[in-house]
């Protein structure tokens, strides 16, 4: 196995020990771009020169006996809505390509760099993140490494494609209604959507500020924790970012699921899914010795409220561009943004008030359990371009259906790890491991237990 295809933690260990140079890891990553990159269309920009400088700095630190950091020499890449100095922040759009290159990196890139990470570039995404498919009419779809005729899921499609194809072991994405969790499930990866307000979103082109999160993709829960730990901490530049000191959790994962009260969500989270999506949850529950079930109340209404807030807030954010350049948008996006820009305030305020009400109901559920399991998506990755699918004998629209299980959870900002389950069909599935607010440690402990048990895994796709 090449060094590049190992986990971020193993790469960093080898670099810190002087067994391999960061420059050599980078050479492997650049070579893999040539052989695999075009097959999955994950990157929109490869920052080769910058990466060489960062890798050299890590190697100098090792040579001088300084600690290069816990991500020493680990190549990573970011969804192209995260600012990279010297690069225009596309947010998946053609319109933003006219923007000047950014003067500075987003804080999360700076924090990953400070830990020794080597930025390899910017990743493809659905336009302005209003997307569950990973399709993009301007930059072409990112492609699922497990079958390149299929969607990666979105909107962080390039993030899923890059990690599952072994281009990088670590990527950043964003999640408003499921955009980390859907591509994690479709591409068979571990993903972490932290608590709303945990990681700073400063220096990112937001979609729906009221719902937006940033978080990592990786091929192991340990790597998620490594990246998450170095990215935490307050940031006055993001008004939502909590004024909390970092709460490192890497040391917690070895505890596994010991002592945790875990349950499977029933009702809404068992409906409208293909059998294998539910089988993935059943396998996880069996491995954890879980037979308890809980009901998350009013999940369908929560999804509806998330939809209303999303369309209205995004419509307002884009109003000027919709007036001036409506036809420069992706055709899958402009009509939805326009309708959102016209939504009455009454709907939005009701949805925000319902959000408080629903959060309180779900807090009640978490008095009796520590972690809740649900499917991440009701279906595996559809084919690229697929518009509808058959489910329980009914034809349902693919795009609207993909996020039914993710939206009610991010709506109230709960932390979620996705544990990927392979072997239930030609394409992978994902299990949402949902914890109470600010308890990312619990979600990742259970994800780590599922990895140890062999139920969850995230191998590099053979390409």
């Amino acid at each position: 196995m090449t060094v590049l295809l190992q986990t971020a933690g193993e790469i960093a260990r080898a670099v810190r020990a002087g067994e391999v140079k960061a420059a050599a890891v980078l050479d492997e990553a650049l070579a893999r771009q040539e052989t695999v990159g075009a097959k999955v269309n994950a990157f929109t920009e490869v920052t080769t020169d910058r990466a060489r400088g960062e890798a050299a700095a890590v190697d100098e630190a090792v040579a001088a006996g300084r600690d290069p950091g816990p991500l020493a020499g680990v190549p990573f890449a970011v969804k192209n809505l995260v600012d990279i100095a010297g690069v225009s922040t596309l947010a998946g759009s053609r319109i933003n390509a006219d923007d000047a290159p950014k003067a500075a990196d987003a804080p999360l890139i700076a924090r990953l760099n400070a830990a020794g990470g080597v930025l390899l570039g910017a990743l493809n995404m659905g336009e302005y993140a209003y997307d569950f498919t990973g399709e993009n009419s301007h930059y072409q779809p990112s492609r699922n490494p497990w079958d390149t005729d299929h969607m990666t899921g979105g909107s962080s499609g390039g993030s899923g494609a890059a990690v599952a194809s072994g281009l990088v072991p670590l990527a950043l994405g964003s999640d408003t209604n499921g955009s980390i969790r859907v591509p994690s499930a479709f591409c068979g990866l571990f993903g972490l959507k932290p608590t709303y307000g945990r990681l700073t979103r400063a220096g990112s082109f937001l979609f729906v500020a009221a719902l937006d999160h940033l978080g990592p993709f990786a091929r192991s829960p340990v790597d998620l924790a490594l990246a998450y730990d170095v990215m935490q901490g307050p940031d006055p530049a993001d008004p939502v970012c909590a004024q909390k000191p970092a709460e490192a959790i890497s040391g917690e994962l070895a505890k596994g699921a010991d002592g945790l009260r875990i349950a499977v969500a029933d009702g809404y989270f068992e409906q409208n899914a293909v059998p294998a999506a539910l089988e993935a949850v059943a396998k996880a529950a069996k491995a954890l010795g879980v037979d308890r079930r809980v009901t998350i109340p009013e999940a369908a209404r929560a999804r509806a409220a998330a939809y209303v807030i999303t369309t209205a807030e995004a419509g307002n954010l884009h109003l000027k561009r919709l007036r001036e350049r409506p036809l420069d948008y992706d055709g899958a996006v402009n009509e939805r943004l326009m309708a959102g820009a016209l939504a009455p305030a009454n709907w939005v305020f009701q949805a925000q008030r319902f959000r408080s009400w629903y959060r309180d109901r779900v807090r009640e559920v978490f008095k009796d359990v520590d972690v809740i399991l649900t499917p991440a998506t009701p279906i595996p990755a559809p084919r690229i371009g697929q518009k509808t699918m058959m489910l329980d004998g009914n034809e349902v629209p693919v795009r609207a259906h993909i996020g039914i299980y993710t939206q009610p959870i991010s709506f109230i900002g709960l932390p979620v790890a996705v544990a990927p389950v392979h072997g239930l069909g030609p394409l992978p599935f994902g299990v949402q491991v949902i914890a109470p607010a600010w308890r990312e440690d619990l979600a990742l402990r259970v994800a780590a237990e599922l990895e140890r048990s062999g139920v969850a895994s995230a191998p590099v796709a053979p390409l």
Partner: protein, 62 residues
């Protein structure tokens, strides 16, 4: 309940004028369809009774 069914087309035309959003002809049918979908989901949200004490969460703290 409303006396008349929601007329998405008329609403889009009136609201677009109110927020000064010109809608290109080729997008109009799609915008109306999206507004119809949003209205349908908004009715689900509006149907939830909420006490006067339930505050909105525009800057939400989990």
């Amino acid at each position: 309940m409303a006396d008349k069914p929601f007329d998405a087309e008329a609403y889009v035309e009136a609201a677009a004028a109110a927020v000064e959003l010109p809608i290109p002809e080729q997008l109009k049918a799609g915008v109306v369809e999206q507004m119809r979908a949003t209205h349908r989901l908004a009715q689900v949200v509006m149907a939830q009774p909420l006490d006067d004490t339930v505050e909105a969460a525009p800057v939400f703290r989990a």
